[in-house]
């Protein structure tokens, strides 16, 4: 016993180091991208409130560009209304507006990790839930991963695990977009059949196959085609439509039929 105490006294520096290092690793491992608890914990909320204050202050410096962007968006939306007025009769039978928009502001965003997250200033009280899509006026932004009372965390397109189901606008072929891994402007599409003719600058839009995004939201434009020599599948890099470094205003997409879709799919799974 006496020896044991002396052992601890002698080596407490190394033992304490190991203890703290183990705590760190446990914290790191328990932080799952999909089911993390940090956003809902008291500490997380404190940090987010703090970042909210920062975002409020810094927001003033971006008012000019933000205004310009909102005006552009307004014009786009007004045009949209004009069009839909003419089509109202045609569309009366097929209401496909299953998404409602919840505006939110970005309070924190990272772009330099390999798993990048966005924190927004809307939470459960505003009707945000896990697995909702986020878009900006420019294009797709990410997917909500965790929600607390007043804030929500989302994995952005700049995340090594994200796959967004997309379509090439000119030939409607399905594909999946991933992040290239380092440059916050560039994404990559792998496994493109060689018979598809794609041009640089072609638009890549959401497929509408998931319940996260409506069909036709811009993800990016093709930057460069990479033709493979030995395989029969090409690849392409795309330039993201969303500029993550200047992202401030976003919209969370609430799918009104979400629970219905979910129960339908669960039923299918049970039958299998």
């Amino acid at each position: 016993m006496h020896n044991l105490i002396r052992f601890f006294q002698k080596n407490y520096f190394v033992l304490l180091f190991l203890l703290l290092e183990i705590v760190s690793v446990l914290l790191l491992v328990s932080y799952q991208p999909y089911h993390n608890r940090i956003a809902s914990s008291v500490m997380g909320d404190f940090a987010h409130s703090f970042l909210n204050i920062r975002s409020n202050i810094v927001g003033y410096f971006h008012l000019k560009t933000e205004n310009k962007r909102l005006v552009e968006e307004n014009t786009h939306l007004l045009n949209f209304i004009e069009h839909s007025r003419h089509d109202t009769l045609k569309k009366a039978g097929q209401t496909d507006s299953i998404f409602t928009f919840i505006p939110a502001r970005v309070v924190n965003i990272t772009t330099h990790y390999r798993t990048n997250y966005i924190v927004i200033n809307k939470g459960t009280e505003d009707g945000i839930e896990q697995n909702m899509g986020i878009i900006s006026s420019e294009g797709v932004v990410g997917i909500i991963t965790d929600v607390s009372k007043h804030f929500a965390t989302a994995m952005s397109l700049l995340h090594k695990q994200i796959h967004v189901s997309v379509r090439f606008k000119n030939n409607h072929h399905l594909a999946q977009v991933q992040w290239e891994g380092r440059n916050p402007e560039i994404g990559i599409i792998r496994h493109i059949p060689t018979h598809l003719t794609l041009l640089e600058g072609d638009s890549v839009v959401t497929s509408g196959n998931s319940f996260l995004f409506p069909e036709g939201v811009l993800v990016g434009t093709i930057k460069k085609l990479i033709t493979s020599e030995n395989e029969d599948l090409n690849a392409a890099t795309i330039r993201f439509a969303t500029d993550f470094n200047s992202l401030r205003q976003v919209y969370v997409l609430k799918n009104t039929f979400r629970s219905e879709f979910d129960s339908l799919i669960n039923k299918q799974r049970h039958e299998e």
Partner: protein, 171 residues
């Protein structure tokens, strides 16, 4: 002693705010982020007891993690750096008389000593940080690139701050 406690508390708060409010929003080349908060650990008194050094390292890292949404990442790296600090000091200061020196700085230890002292500890911190972030060996090349690119940037920032505040004190 009381004075040193006060000075270090101020330094902690200022460096943390500088890190999370300004530096974390700077992206050099898209993915290089300078980490300067570790200067707090570098400048702690030489005669600080081991347990306090480790605990302070842990909480400094955890505070940064809190703001970056990465629990354990910076805490683990900073604890490792705090753990290695006494060894690095011992190795670098062979033959030097450390009795009279309270805090490590350019004034007390000399420029070249402080350069190597900070470079070694910044490197150790960044190596652990980026391997923790990747948490596997698959992206070894990418991890090494991030380490090699980030170390000089952080080191330059730290030396600039140290030089800036040294000249302030003299005048």
């Amino acid at each position: 002693m009381k004075n040193s406690f006060f000075l270090n508390s101020i330094r902690f708060v200022v460096l943390l705010l500088f890190q999370v409010l300004i530096l974390n929003h700077i992206r050099l080349n898209g993915f290089i982020n300078p980490y300067v908060y570790i200067l707090f650990i570098l400048l702690l008194p030489l005669n600080i007891s081991g347990w306090l050094l480790l605990i302070l390292g842990f909480f400094t890292g955890l505070s940064v993690d809190l703001f970056m949404g990465t629990p354990g990442l910076h805490a683990g790296a900073t604890v490792f750096m705090a753990f290695m600090r006494p060894t690095i000091i011992r190795v670098l200061s062979r033959g030097k008389d450390l009795e009279k020196i309270v805090e490590p700085s350019i004034n007390t230890m000399g420029s070249s000593w402080f350069f190597f002292y900070s470079l070694f500890l910044v490197s150790l911190h960044h190596i652990v940080l980026f391997f923790f972030e990747a948490f596997n060996m698959n992206q070894l090349g990418d991890t090494l690139l991030r380490i090699v690119a980030s170390i000089p940037v952080s080191e330059i920032f730290i030396l600039l701050i140290v030089y800036f505040f040294r000249s302030q004190k003299k005048s």
